[in-house]
């Protein structure tokens, strides 16, 4: 007697569930820039506000923000303190706005007058390419231009403490220091 059709069911179901799991995992993964990846070139990103500062061989903090994002505003005061403490030692901060409205961007910059470089990503090409997971998100790049740390959101003193520890570590990198 030939085996009944039902004996094939486990194999078919297993195969199907494997495909389903693969689809689910593939759907949940973010392609984008992750730690270890080179960060896209800022001068080539077509940012508004002039050429970004020179970053070759420097430790760079790239922050993505928007004028309508309250935590981004809170992060700016922390970045101002980082700029004061670390810019003389080689840190470059570039805050990239994803604001669609140039007026909202200009009003924010006029009001807060950040002491570090701010630029606008008018078509959000850079944000798409990096595939930022949230606002704000900041990327700490080593002197080789590769992403070393990613901070999603801003959690006040905790984030600032972590950033300081990581910046200290990157600035003291004996291999990559110029």
């Amino acid at each position: 007697m030939s085996p009944p059709e039902i004996t094939r069911r486990p194999t078919i179901v297993r195969r199907g569930l494997t495909i389903a799991l693969g689809l689910a995992l593939a759907g949940g993964a973010r392609a984008g820039v992750n730690p270890g990846d080179p960060f896209p070139s800022l001068p080539a990103a077509g940012l508004d506000g002039g050429a970004p500062p020179a970053t070759a061989g420097r430790v760079v903090l790239v922050d993505f923000w928007a004028s309508w994002c309250a935590p981004c505003r809170a992060a700016f005061s922390a970045y101002a303190r980082l700029e004061a403490d670390y810019a003389p030692r080689g840190l470059v901060i570039v805050a990239v706005s994803v604001d669609e409205s140039p007026a909202a961007y200009a009003a924010f910059v006029d009001r807060f007058r950040p002491p570090f470089a701010v630029r606008r990503d008018p078509e959000q090409h850079l944000a798409r390419r990096v595939d930022i997971p949230a606002l704000p998100t900041c990327y700490l790049l080593g002197r080789d231009g590769r992403v070393r740390f990613v901070h999603q959101g801003f959690h006040g003193d905790q984030t600032e403490r972590e950033l300081r520890r990581e910046i200290d570590r990157l600035l003291a990198d004996p291999v990559l220091a110029p």
């Binding site: 009944p4 059709e5 179901v13 199907g16 389903a20 689809l23 689910a24 994002c69 959000q124 949230a134």
Partner: protein
């Protein structure tokens, strides 16, 4: 013993529907509003409590419908259990 047969096509259909449902729970088939696209959603006019008069009216209607003193925003709702 007579084992009930399970049509192969039905199994495939079941598995395909499971796959569609699982992938639908993540990205496939859904449009995810990206972080940089949330400017309009973050606008003040999108807040449900942007108008104090409308909020007070909605609270009044809610209170009347629920027959509860205090409605939202007051501890206890007249039941005496709080």
């Amino acid at each position: 013993m007579n084992t009930p047969s399970f049509p192969r096509r039905s199994v495939f259909l079941l598995v395909a529907l499971t796959a569609a449902a699982l992938s639908g729970c993540t990205n496939a088939g859904l449009v995810r509003v990206q972080p940089w696209e949330r400017g309009t959603l973050a606008d003040y006019t999108m807040r449900p409590d942007r108008d104090p008069v409308a909020t007070a009216m909605a609270d009044h209607i809610y209170t009347s419908r629920e027959s509860s003193t205090g409605g939202r925003g007051v501890g206890g709702s007249g039941c005496g259990c709080n």
